[in-house]
Symmetry: C2
Subunit: 365 residues, 2 copies
């Protein structure tokens, strides 16, 4: 971080280390040649290490939503039964995508910022007998970590595939895809991986391939995962890849390797702890309502806007002090603000953020 520009403490795009930014100014290369192939293979291997998976994994030239649609759109046919768990904006997005592909999508909805209740999920699964279950691991819109392992286990009991949106967890959390039994996991470049926005990654289990192969007619084209698999035989992508973003992701993975995942996860936890403690010390309150299966997120902290101050003034005050935090999305607009601690953020940026918040609150109190 240079510290000169506005400090982005929003849940993506995250600030980029200079070496990651500079990687993008390399000259273009032939996207069907050996140089690209080697880079792509290294990216895939690096991501498999972070995903802790032996499943196939590909990088798509599109944002996280592109990978979300790839997951849902390749699996669901006209009337495939699916259960989509929702407790925030991104859970809802998976439902919206599901409705484009199947008429048999059941949303199991919880309060935004509220915890997921396993009994309610079970009841819906008894009724729908889903082939596919979707959930967001770290709900970016509310700052809550959902119980991925428990839902993965449940999905397996019902013989359903489990799609887990890990867009703001992978790279900042321990997310053992194979150990948990996640059939499709996705992540975005501009979150905990610390790379620029515009590309995304997706891993696919053998069970998921089997359902996709049976879905011959209705798969999306640009995000046809079977085309991705076929092209990977030659370490290529089916369509022209967003080369500069691949260069940057390759460098970002090198940064992660140098730090090590254990340290990286611990750093994310410590920084979030620092933020949460500061919020408490300033007399503010965290937004999520937790039960025993949920946790506060270590990658984005959602805070209730205090009654005596409006959201716009709070965020404007922080911005004047050089720090951008995120507002609430959808129905939470104006009610919460969010501080991200993702990617290559350090204590220094977190301190600057806390100071900016403290000073803004003092100005208005």
């Amino acid at each position: 971080m240079t510290g000169e520009e506005l400090l982005l403490m929003i849940p993506g795009p995250v600030p980029l280390l200079p070496r990651i930014r500079e990687a993008m100014s390399r000259p273009m290369i032939y996207h069907r040649g050996e140089e690209f192939g080697e880079m792509y293979r290294e990216i895939v291997d690096g991501l498999k290490w972070i995903f802790q998976t032996k499943n196939d994994l590909f990088v798509m030239s599109g944002s996280g939503t592109c990978a979300m649609e790839a997951a849902v759109g390749n699996l669901l046919r006209t009337d495939t039964p699916a259960v989509c768990i929702v407790n925030g904006k991104f859970g809802e997005r998976l439902v919206e995508i599901g409705h484009r592909y199947s008429t048999n999508v059941r949303a199991v909805e919880f309060e935004w910022g509220g915890s997921i209740e396993l009994d309610a999920v079970k009841a819906a699964m008894d009724e729908v007998q889903p082939q596919v279950v979707t959930m967001v691991h770290n709900e970016t819109s509310t700052g809550i970590l959902n119980p991925a392992e428990a839902i993965a286990k449940l999905a397996r009991e019902y013989d359903a595939l489990f799609v887990l949106d890990c867009i703001t967890s992978i790279g900042g959390y321990n997310v053992p895809i194979d150990q948990w039994g996640v059939d499709i996991a996705i992540t975005g470049s501009q979150k905990c991986l610390g790379a620029p926005p515009g590309i995304s990654a997706i891993s696919i289990s053998d069970r998921a391939w089997a359902l996709m192969e049976a879905n011959s007619s209705r798969r999306p084209y640009y995000m046809d995962l079977i085309a991705y698999r076929d092209s990977y035989d030659k370490f290529q992508t089916p369509y022209t890849p967003a080369l500069p973003l691949f260069f940057a992701l390759h460098e970002a993975l090198e940064v992660i390797r140098e730090e090590g995942m254990v340290k990286r996860i611990e750093r994310h936890r410590l920084l979030a702890d620092t933020v949460r403690n500061a919020i408490d010390a300033m007399g503010l309150s965290l937004f999520p309502k937790l039960n025993e299966v949920s946790e506060y997120s270590n990658t984005v902290t959602a805070v209730n806007v205090p009654e005596w101050l409006d959201d716009a003034s709070l965020r404007a005050g922080m911005r004047e002090r050089g720090v951008m935090v995120a507002g609430g999305q959808g129905r939470l607009k104006g009610r919460i603000f969010r501080i991200a601690t993702m990617g290559n953020i350090t204590e220094r940026e977190v301190s600057r953020t806390i100071q900016a918040l403290d000073s803004t609150l003092k100005e208005h109190r």
Copy 2:
């Protein structure tokens, strides 16, 4: 161009001017803020100027194929009648995409590298009574410029929407979208615009919007053009944009503005002429078979591999001499090679290419 790296004379990704590469190493910005909004609006206005259109226009974070699917996928419902004109790989791709969305897609096929015959198109249109007609303007796979104006006129006579893939024409050709009456036009960043790969642009006429709005249930999600239109009210994209590629495209459009479109089109024509004359002088032959409605492409020249030399040796020889040209795709693999003259290529790069080809031929003859 620096001249140090391998010279990419392939039809995308094209070599990037240093100022366009460097634009990507800027720090990240908030993608819902004013700074992004202003940049996005300038990009859209610049592209509308190049497209010569007053239609809505958006930039998608995905390659040209993403925009191709956006065009077809938003228009076609389960059984929408469509005629797709094919005389090369990319025309075929539009058919493949069409089949994912409608059971009533008729491919009107001509020889790859052969011209489009208006009577055959008319006959198919009489039979199918299409709501949508698709064609590739500049068929990158064969080096042929297809008769866009004539087909646009025909589509209008049949009251069908006209989708024109201008991925390798816009930015290097005069393509007056509104004058011709093209309902959806698309282009890619990494071709004649001279920007890096990974984003694409699409323009949509009022008639096209009307058909899309009637297609409520089946539209793709990531490439839902109505979501793009809604977000553009605030100069935003519906999902996180590939920021570094937007920075680069913004700079690439500035380069185009400085050169001027008239000069730019003339430069593309002159460079292609130089290549064609050199091919002739070296005793080689151009691949496409032309009739009165077709032309050799000014952005990519397809050349028959001479009988006395194999394609692999030819391209390897050129590569040893620092120049990469493209091979044939699909059924043309091994039969042709292709020299692109797109983007910000100058006489200098064209000379280097011709010298490398000449020297390679002399070595093997």
